[in-house]
Amino acid sequence: MKKIKIPIGPQHPALKEPISLRITVEGEVIKDADVRLGYNHRGIEKLAESRTYVQNIYLMERICGICSHSHTTCFVQGVESLCGLEVPKRGLFIRMLVCELERIHSHYLWLGVAAHEAGFDSLFMYTWRDREVVMDLLEIISGNRVHYAINTIGGVRRDLSEVQKEKILEGIQFLKKRMEYYTNLGTTEPSFVARVSGVGILPKEKAMSLCAVGPTLRASGIASDIRKDDPYAAYDEIPFSVCTATSCDVLGRVVVRIKETMESIKIVEYLVKNLPSGEIKVRAPRKVKEGEAVSRYEAPRGENIHYIKSNGTDKPERVKVRAPTLANYPATIEMLKSGFIADIPLIFAAIDPCICCAERFVEVIDTKNENTQVLTMAEIKKRYSKSQGLKKGSSVWPL
């Protein structure tokens, strides 16, 4: 049979964000896969170098829509360790509370997306309806549904009242009940299980050597969780277990995420019930003394790492962000090989790809020309012809 190359992306119904997968298929079987990034660059790393630390918190928040809290927490932790700040317990607990609610939110969302990719639209509609509950809880705590903006250097910005605590416990009970139902549905519904089990195999050794992270790694039987391995915030005093699966396939990743949601619900209950009293933040200096810090964080999708280098001013020298999705791409290519075309969306969705997270480097804004101008069409044409004259009709970036 003839081999053909099919393009999945940059625009494709299975992808919510632009990325290009070039898949070589023979009939229905995938022979080779290649990934091409770069459709979603915003130049955040470069931009961060020209902003102050406080401004950068809000910039980091905008790396991703779903795990926005992950990036800010990771960033402020790094800055706090550079400044040597001791964040008050209550602040840490509220920070962790938002972390875990965000994880619940992300996993609910993921379950819906995975169901949709498998053509199971009923489950998709159900999970996304229930996801509203956790988004409302986050709104109660932070005032926002997506970009929570609760972190600041040295603590959090909003306190938690007794009424809010009650509301959270109430909402959590509902989410727990629903997730129990989905546990049953996602692991026993025959047509769904037939689609996900044995698909996208990633053996343990491959997962290790390709540096996979998060639920993808844990579904291959490796109990690696930054919350346990490298306890940030106050995770070392919270009882929870690391969820793993040994099946190494998409079903394993479904199971891991469902189990993790249940664990997160338990953590949220514990946090709300044992919330210590006291301050929620400490004052942070505007300038950060010279040094470098590596901050790691277990985002819903896996390990998130920020490397921050300060130079003694109020702006960082360098901020390096590595979002979990980027780390999972080599493993995804491995998983795609020898699958079926029908498995592509599922395998790709199983790493919970967040393309805007993974891409953030290139600056495409003209920094020199700071004042924005409103140009008429005629002016644009004039400029265009002028530049055209200089270039003698040759395009610099041929389309």
Binding site: R318, L326, P330, S387, L390
Partner: protein, 157 residues
């Protein structure tokens, strides 16, 4: 095995390879390695200490030269291996033979800093467009971006 033991063990076992070791905050170890001893060091770290996971590779423009930082991790500590590179000859050896998962990070470094990675299995640009002009490396400190004139197809004069 705890962090202090790992720190001590690295200092004694790898004294031939590393030039500098520090632990500025809990569970964070920074070591410096000469470029030619990088592969050897990573192999020892992977086999003897279980640093099989590469979190990422960061590049750093220090004006006088470049620094490439390999953020490794095992289940106890996060270890950063620092390599200094000459600015006049920005080259580094690929570590893909030790850690295959490093490929994307190496391609990123190549795109962003113009540090040539020798023996890289796949040297196409990763995040920059295929037709990105030569010699433009966005994350270098001296990079000054000039957007090329936009050409609209079909409107040539």
């Amino acid at each position: 095995m705890n962090q202090a033991e790992i720190f001590e063990k690295i200092r004694t076992n790898l004294s031939a390879q590393i030039t500098d070791i520090s632990m500025p905050s809990p569970r964070r170890i920074f070591v410096s390695v000469a470029p030619e001893k990088l592969i050897e060091t990573l192999k020892i770290l992977k086999d003897d200490f279980g640093f099989y996971h590469l979190s990422t590779i960061s590049g750093l423009d220090k004006i006088t030269g470049f620094e490439v930082l390999y953020h490794l991790a095992n289940s106890f500590v996060s270890l950063t291996v620092r390599v200094q590179i000459d600015r006049a000859k920005p080259e580094i050896i690929s570590i893909c033979e030790v850690i295959p998962g490093a490929i994307l990070y190496e391609r990123e470094i190549q795109d962003m800093f113009g540090i040539k990675v020798i023996n890289i299995p796949d040297s196409r640009p990763l995040v920059l467009p295929d037709d990105w002009p030569e010699g433009e490396y966005p994350l270098r400190k001296d990079w000054n971006y000039q957007p090329p004139a936009e050409t609209i197809p079909g409107e040539e004069q």
